[in-house]
Amino acid sequence: MNAPVEAVTEPSGAAKSSTLGPILRGLVRHRTLAALVVVSIVCTAYGLNGDATALITLDNALILVLFSVATNLLLGYGGMASFGQACFFGLGAYLVALGWANLHAPFWLMLVAAPAVGALVATAVGAVALRLQQWFFSLVTLAFSQLFYTIVEKAYVITQGDNGVFGPMIPRALTEPITGFEFVLGVTAICLVLLLAVVRSPFGLTLTAIRDNRRRVQTLGINVYRHQVLAFAISGAFCSVAGALFTVPNQAAYPQLFDWNQSGLPVIASVLGGVFLFEGPVLGAFILQYGRDLLIQHTSHWQLAFGLLLLAIVLLAPDGLLGAAYRLIGRSARRFLSSGVWRRAGWR
């Protein structure tokens, strides 16, 4: 796999400017953080003005963002196509739901437990699944997803099975739409920053190196298997947090949160946005959530629309929509900067 991690080239004419260039260069280098900040501001502004339903959709979009970015740690950065991340998503949601229903435990405890339990279970699943590669790995993760779904459905004495768990499982304060939204946004933002730190760390760089050339990394003496299992655990932890957050706007948990359709969502979102960009899944998740909610109101054929969109992206724009957008912006910016128009306009 020779995938670029950074899909944008710097504007070349910028070297000649004195103020504009450094600004642009800074934006490019820190574009991920910039994008996240922009998105957070937009969300907050929208959220504080929106009504209850709009906020719930926004909450779900943010939860999908976290879910997708966590999945993309494996998919884009690690080269591991896991179709089973819903295992941990559902786990987080059920920890909160069953903690409330069966144990009468406080929400905060379950929220903190979610990443811990998620990491533990992910280590177990990953230890088995990562002994295989590529399609076999993907198939095993798919099987795990369906297995968890079946187990949760069957163990109805504990999990209430197919009925799901519904009820006031979150603190009263969070049931208020705006407070709930702020909470979800806050936790998502923190988790995204943590994930960004992981990706930029030596661990993260080794992960992409393994993706690009597994054998070479192995000859360097690094235990590739252990590295990948650790990445799987980290991803699982954050997927669990996303699942726990799911209970805030929805106050529900049901077995379908474990199945392969749910597992496919973050993969689709990542591919839509662009798997080789950190913020790619962010865009993809928003498109997926809003697109689906919008489509469902007008037509029952949203599956067709998304199938076509996914196909188009996969075949024609493998960098994803954001990757294509960056390329477009980069090209126009370069053209703009090297055209000299701005200099003639008096800018320095």
Partner: protein, 409 residues
């Protein structure tokens, strides 16, 4: 290459937008002089028949009521969104119906889990929710709220009614087949314990728990055949039940054992002349066993749609009638007022007189049980009853104290 990819991405986005805008079923909005009734129910998926048939009945009720002037001066209109039986989708859809389309009442659902999802939102937004399908006992206990009304015999009541009848029968060797979700387990466990309470000690020669959505019942049928039971009690619904029966028929299973099935009228209409004779069936609204009002409804239904109604059109029709009468009595569409009116007095519906008890909003409704005749009735195209019973269920409801103990505080 790059230009092509960006163009493609833009084109793809347009597909999504266009598909969204040029959709086939835009959601109705209430015009002046109209109120919307929300129906979050599955019209696709394993239990699609419930939604499709029930909606027909509901629409007939809406048309009849509008012809007489509507309710409180407003015309009624149905707003339905398909959830394919998924609780997740039902949740989103119900919320959309309540907040975007401002429905004044909710009706449903095709599964107990979607009913629970809708119930939660109905309680949150204080919209009356009249359940005419989806009868899990949890709906009136664990997840209960006072805006939810159950018009079907619950999974507490129905198996007790069946056990009441089976206690009079001479069978000893029982086999049970229950779908492997709480509905199936509740039905089977309640049936067996009720039999014991009625003084019959069943000899359970085997139990099967197929996963919901199983399509191949060969292995289960083989196991049943090997055990040679006298009676097979099933707790399957929808396409699961249909598949099981079609496949079991080929193994001639029901020449040696008697079979007990729920949603009998669905099955009889689906299988027609190949309905196995001598089958014990039960149902909440088989028109051919009910009074003249129901039979008249059936004739109207038949002349309109060309087929005879299962229980669902009657259940849906009655549900709309009940809500309409309650709203008229309350002279308002406000959820709290209507909810109060729902428990105040009995309603006359196409299913007969019906009233809710206040402690859990469960309607006192009978279970109709019959044994299929040996040949199909020439008028209807499916076998009617050789013997039948109407079990009134007044002794089969959960004691109020128990129900209230389980309800959320």
């Amino acid at each position: 290459m790059r230009l092509k990819s960006t163009l493609a991405a833009v084109a793809a986005l347009c597909t999504v937008v266009i598909a969204g805008c040029g959709g086939s079923s835009a959601q109705p909005a209430a015009t002046q002089g109209e109120v919307l009734l929300g129906v979050p129910i599955g019209t696709t998926g394993a239990n699609a028949t419930i939604g499709i048939e029930g909606l027909k009945g509901m629409q007939m009720a809406v048309d009849d009521i509008n012809a007489k002037g509507g309710v409180n001066g407003k015309a009624l209109k149905l707003a339905q969104i398909d959830d394919a039986g998924s609780a997740a989708t039902a949740s989103t859809n119900t919320r959309s119906l309540v907040t975007n389309q401002k429905v004044v009442a909710l009706f449903g659902s095709s599964t107990s889990s979607t009913a629970a999802a809708t119930e939660a939102i109905a309680g949150q937004y204080q919209i009356p929710f009249v359940i005419w399908a989806g009868a899990d006992i949890g709906l009136t206990t664990k997840t209960f709220n006072k805006f939810t009304f159950q018009t079907k015999p619950s999974t507490y009541m129905e198996p007790r009614a069946v056990a009441q009848y089976m206690a009079t029968q001479p069978y000893k060797r029982y086999y049970t087949v229950g779908v492997d979700i709480s509905y199936g387990h509740n039905q089977v466990d309640t049936f067996l314990s009720s039999l014991k309470a009625d003084g019959v000690t069943p000899q359970v020669v085997g139990q099967q728990w197929p996963a919901i959505g199983t399509s191949d019942y060969t292995s289960i049928i083989t196991a049943i055949a090997a055990a040679k039971p006298e009676f097979v009690f099933t707790a399957l619904t929808g396409s699961d039940l249909l598949n099981f029966l079609k496949q079991a028929g080929a193994y001639k299973l029901f020449q040696t054992a008697k079979l007990g099935v729920t949603t009998g009228s669905d099955l009889s209409l689906a299988l027609g002349t190949s309905t196995p004779p001598g089958t014990v069936m039960w149902d909440s609204a088989p028109f051919f066993l009910m009074d003249q009002t129901a039979k008249d409804f059936a004739d109207k239904f038949h002349s309109k749609f060309g087929t005879w109604p299962m229980e669902w059109p009657l259940m849906g029709y009655a549900a709309v009638q009940i809500w309409a009468q309650a709203a008229a009595a309350a002279k308002s569409f406000d959820g709290t007022q209507v909810a109060k009116a729902m428990v105040a007095k009995p309603f006359s519906t196409v299913r007969g007189q019906l009233s809710f008890r206040a402690c859990d909003d469960q309607a006192l409704v009978p279970t109709y049980l019959w044994v299929t005749a040996s040949s199909a009735d020439p008028k209807y195209g499916f076998p009617l009853a050789s013997t039948s019973e109407v079990i009134t269920n007044d002794k089969n409801m959960m004691p109020c104290s128990d129900a209230q103990a389980l309800q959320p505080k």
